[in-house]
């Protein structure tokens, strides 16, 4: 990312953004009915669904990482990367549209925003700053001009950075002040009160609405997902590799940024920048008539707290200016607060009106020059106001619980005018502190939740009968630290995690310490004769119980003794873990022969899983390893040759045969061109291999330092190296031929694709350094991924979950919180799973 040309970083917003935002803004604002707003969304979805998607799931991560860092202003200056992606799903669909979409308004220069930005922090703000500087290319200057023209005539608002107080929302990355680049269709209707937007979208989409994403199946990379016939549901019509990502949509929640040009009474005029409202008509007579206006977007509850300020520019003596919120269907001919589903604070008497004409005294009156702040706290569905920076207290109940709400202003007198600040300028009130305090409170409340182990499927599932038999005190013990009922499941969770990933020594040390503690806690009970025999019973019962019921144990377990004894057998730590570890380690080193023979010996069924897919993958990897070895051997030949050339003492003796060999090999290998051996890859390690034993040994022992010092041995070495290289290459190629022959009748598309990718590696002299898909296929990451897959496959073949429960726990929690936020539960915005649990 850092190597990107600086230009791409300097213009993250396509100059066409204005035209594009008009496209989006106008239909949205003119037709406040949901279907119209959703139409573009489904179109995009459909388009994306039918486009072939190239990127496979494991690689998708990096793509989305760079993409989102360009798009979403990352929170609080964290470095770009995975760290900020907790709420950002995978983005492929947009990328596809970015390249295939015939969007007319796009200019080649507009591609910049789709490149990863070099700035990890706040690309929007950065762009604003850069635009005003002179160092912009000619095209950009042109666009800048047209941008401002459009801006002036159509009074669109440029976006501004997301207000700082919103950084406290765990869902901040979904909150936008302007539509993201054109391929993004903003989800202006998050429909938080029904299903989430993604759901409604996929239900109207003509594409198959749901392709299963088998989280609980093994996450096989390309091959696995695409051709797995054992998936029960019918295969999707498009390449299934992309299916996963096609349906992953990113939710964009638009923030109010200006007064709506459409959603207002005609007698209120909106200023060019969208912030000012002026009453231009004749003053309203009687209570029946007023003029109100709403902001351009509803407030997403995912904000947690949303706040805007209004400066009273001019108020007539009798003018009851009302500031507050209203639902989209509330009549604009009435002041906010007088109609159901609207709420308002009135200037003339300082009263607050909760949706009907019976308001109550709330705060001071306000007049020309005052700045009134207006906030909605979705964590309690209450409103608060501030006057000139002072907090006036909470008011109203159940605000925004069952309806979307917009910032809303009402006036009645000619020439009255106000100016709103939706966050583009600093606020008078210290809203950040307010939000932080509220966040801390909400988070504290959440963290006081009792863990109900039985609900989580951990710990004893108590029947009513058993519960009675417990002492009341035991049942209400709250603190988890002291509560042994909680210790056992926690330990199991951690131990299972360690075992899953093969941290064998840790797992054993942990297990030992746990056992010691359990004994210390239970066994050292002196004198009190009653307890000890009971414990023995508990232990016995427990062991049986655990084995039979997989962890649910009797209520007697509350002393926390028994379940431990079973860890050894339950996870079979020593025997099983060691084998699994040897296998994965062999794959990680590239020693496929050892890996395969160990698997054959200990877990033969794994090789047959999914019609031999795992075996196929292992064999492909072995081929890649052979090719890498051959490449490495050849590089050594070249190196010696180069050194020989650099030493004129030994001019021509060895060079001819060497050149011959080298060219021969090159020709055989790719038939394309000469090799570039200047760049020995650090990844190309010497690989121990049973099939070509002579390559590493001869090369390794003879070569270092000998060639230049001793000419004659070096010539021998040349010859030996050359022979070895040739042999390595032949081994690789003949293995490849066998591979091709063995799988030529396997028409599964995933197998075909993987085979093609595998053979593609041959075409490069240094595949790892080549980068791209080839580099990925050849590189260490691919070994690691294969090792992880084999690990999962082994675990699954033993009937264990493909993911450690701990990982699923995290994912489940995160997904729950996000969903809650989208459903309008404001407190969820203050539960930042990643920040609280994964960052220091």
């Amino acid at each position: 990312m850092s190597t990107r040309p600086s230009r791409s970083a300097s213009i993250p917003i396509p100059p066409s953004s204005t035209a594009r935002s008009l496209e989006n803004v106008i239909p949205m604002s003119f037709s406040p009915n949901p279907p119209a707003r959703q139409r573009p969304a489904s179109t995009v979805n459909a388009a994306a669904s039918f486009s072939p998607v190239r990127v496979a799931p494991p690689m998708a991560r990096s793509v989305s990482a760079s993409y989102s860092s360009a798009l979403n202003a990352p929170p609080r200056g964290r470095p770009a990367g995975l760290a900020q992606l907790n709420t950002a799903p995978v983005f492929e669909p947009r990328i596809i549209r970015a390249t295939t979409s015939p969007t007319p308004s796009r200019d080649p220069a507009c591609n910049a925003p789709y490149s990863p930005s070099t700035s990890p922090v706040r690309p929007r703000r950065l762009s604003a700053g850069v635009r005003s500087q002179s160092a912009v290319s000619a095209t950009n200057l042109g666009h800048r001009a047209s941008t401002s023209t459009i801006h002036a005539t159509h009074t669109t608002t440029q976006g501004f950075p997301r207000p700082a107080y919103l950084e406290y929302s765990s869902m901040r990355d979904m909150l936008h002040t302007e539509p993201a680049p054109s391929t993004l269709t903003p989800v202006t209707r998050p429909a938080p009160y029904a299903v989430s937007s993604q759901d409604s979208r996929s239900s109207v989409s003509p594409a198959p609405p749901s392709i299963p994403y088998p989280y609980f199946r093994r996450e096989l990379s390309p091959v696995g997902d695409s051709d797995d016939e054992s998936i029960a549901t019918p295969p999707p019509p498009q390449p299934a590799i992309g299916a996963v990502t096609v349906l992953s949509t990113n939710t964009v929640l638009m923030l109010p940024t200006r007064w709506s040009e459409q959603d207002r009474m005609p007698s209120l005029s909106v200023s060019l920048d969208g912030r000012e409202l002026t009453f231009t008509g004749p003053s309203c007579m009687g209570d029946r008539e007023s003029s109100a206006a709403r902001a351009n977007h509803p407030i997403p509850p995912a904000c947690g707290i949303y706040y805007y300020e209004v400066e009273i520019l001019h108020k007539c003596p009798k003018g009851p200016i009302s500031i507050g919120f209203s639902a989209p269907d509330v009549r604009l001919s009435r002041l906010p607060g007088w109609e159901r589903n609207s709420w308002g604070y009135h200037a003339d008497d300082g009263w607050a009106f909760p949706g009907h004409k019976e308001g109550s005294a709330y705060g001071p009156t306000f007049d020309t020059g005052d700045v009134i702040g207006c906030g909605i706290d979705f964590s309690q569905n209450r409103v608060f106001y501030t006057k000139n920076g002072s907090f006036l207290g909470l008011v109203f109940e159940n605000v925004g619980k069952n309806t979307e709400i917009y910032p809303c202003i009402g006036m009645r007198q000619t020439n009255e005018s106000i100016r709103a600040n939706f966050g583009s300028a600093p606020f008078r009130f210290a809203i950040e502190e307010h939000v932080r305090a509220r966040r801390d409170t909400v988070w504290g409340d959440i963290m006081a939740t009792r863990v109900d182990w039985s609900v989580l499927g951990l710990g004893p599932r108590k029947t009513e009968e058993k519960r009675e038999s417990e002492t009341p005190k035991l049942a209400e013990k709250g603190d988890i630290n002291e509560d042994d009922e909680s210790k056992t499941p926690l330990r199991k969770l951690v131990l299972a995690y360690l075992a899953h990933h093969g941290y064998a020594r840790t797992a054993r040390a942990f297990q030992k310490q746990c056992t010691e503690r359990s004994h210390a806690a239970a066994g050292k009970e002196p004198v009190q004769t009653k307890i000890e025999p009971e414990d023995d019973v508990a232990m016995a019962v427990d062991s049986e119980d655990t084995r039979a019921a997989g962890g649910s144990s009797s209520a007697a377990d509350s002393v926390g003794t028994g379940a431990w004894l079973d860890y050894e057998s339950e996870y079979g730590l020593d025997r099983d873990l060691n084998t699994r570890l040897s296998i994965t380690n062999a794959i990680i080193r590239g020693d496929m022969d050892t890996a395969m023979s160990l698997i054959r010996e200990h877990h033969p069924s794994v090789l047959e899983r999914e019609q031999g897919l795992i075996l196929f993958r292992l064999r492909c990897r072995k081929f890649v390893e052979l090719v890498l070895e051959a490449g490495e051997a050849l590089r050594k030949v070249k190196e010696v040759e180069r050194e020989a050339a650099a030493h004129p003492k030994e001019p021509s003796v060895g060079s001819k045969p060497l050149d011959g060999v080298g060219e021969g090999i090159v020709g055989e290998m790719d038939g394309v061109g000469a090799m570039d051996v200047d760049d020995p890859s650090p990844e190309a390690r010497t690989v121990s291999s049973a099939t070509s034993p002579m390559v590493p040994t001869t090369a390794g022992t003879v070569l270092p330092g000998s060639s230049s010092a001793a000419p004659t041995p070096s010539r021998d070495a040349h010859a030996a190296l050359a022979a070895a290289a040739k042999a390595a290459l032949h081994t690789a190629l003949s293995y490849g031929q066998t591979l091709e022959a063995d799988y030529k009748s396997d028409m599964r598309p995933g197998v075909r694709a993987h085979l093609r990718r595998t053979f593609g590696v041959v075409a490069y002299d240094d595949p790892i350094a080549t980068g791209g898909e080839v580099g990925e296929t050849a590189g260490q990451a691919s070994r690691d991924a294969l090792a992880a897959e084999v690990n999962q496959a082994i675990l699954e073949s033993q009937g264990r979950p493909a993911h450690p429960a701990l990982e699923t726990l995290y994912r489940q929690t995160s997904a729950c919180v996000t969903r809650l936020g989208l459903l309008g539960v404001g407190a969820a915005a203050f539960a930042d799973v990643r920040k609280e649990f994964l960052e220091d």
């Binding site: 907790n86 994403y213 959440i446 002291e482 941290y503 054993r508 990982e807 994912r811 407190a827």
Partner: protein
């Protein structure tokens, strides 16, 4: 107010959401390391830092100190524990009267457990009774502890009293001291893993009011039987 319709979240869609959550093995390793450190599994934490190639967030010796205190309490050696806590940081007990009271109470319990009735009485009168004046909470705890003497090991002893003699009471005291020490080192007083479980319980309960979702069965990390449909 209209009754909200409960949305149904299908497992397929939900699994996709789970898959979309960004979390790496390194993230989870940190979570596990935090647990090992906070809960005081020193050797496991050391091994883990080697095997997973991670920096430990703290000095491993500090874990050991904490664990020694905890073990002293678990075997009933309250005097040793108090000395060690003060060696570590005298402010911990100075600034935390209720923790100090808890330790004194534990000491009284240990006297009674050992049948040292005379010492118990003397200790109660000299050390604990004056503190009982300080707050009603201390007083009622003191009374509850003294009831141990009244019942001795009679089977009539109510559970609320007899549980003071249980290992759980020692563990409870040890955990409170542990938390106080952690706090004095400005570490979290509870493993993040526990917080994560709290959040999950909160989240699933909140979500359940609004939608039917596949709920997690942590015993095997699947949705198992709990997810019907």
């Amino acid at each position: 107010m209209p009754v909200q319709q409960k949305a149904k979240i299908y497992q397929e869609e939900w699994e996709r959401r789970l898959h979309d959550v960004q979390v790496s093995k390194e993230d989870l390793n940190r979570l596990v390391m935090d647990y090992l450190v906070i809960e005081g599994y020193k050797t496991a934490a050391e091994e883990f830092s080697k095997e997973a190639g991670m920096e430990s967030p703290v000095d491993f010796d500090s874990i050991e100190n904490r664990m020694n205190i905890r073990e002293a309490l678990q075997r009933g050696d309250v005097g040793e524990a108090i000395t060690r806590v003060n060696d570590l940081n005298p402010e911990i007990l100075d600034t935390n009267p209720s923790l100090y009271f808890r330790l004194q109470q534990q000491k009284l319990i240990e006297y009674i457990r050992q049948g040292k009735i005379a010492e118990a009485l003397q200790f109660a009168q000299e050390e604990l009774a004056p503190r009982g004046e300080e707050s009603p909470e201390f007083l009622s705890e003191l009374e509850r502890t003294m009831a141990l003497l009244a019942f001795e090991s009679s089977p009539m002893m109510p559970a609320s009293v007899s549980e003071l003699l249980s290992p759980a009471q020692r563990m409870k005291t040890a955990a409170e001291v542990n938390a106080a020490i952690l706090e004095s080192f400005s570490q979290g007083k509870e493993a993040k893993l526990v917080g994560l479980l709290r959040l999950l319980c909160w989240g699933e309960a909140m979500l359940e009011e609004r939608a039917d979702l596949p709920k997690l069965d942590l015993s095997d990390g699947t949705f198992g039987e709990r997810m019907s449909g």
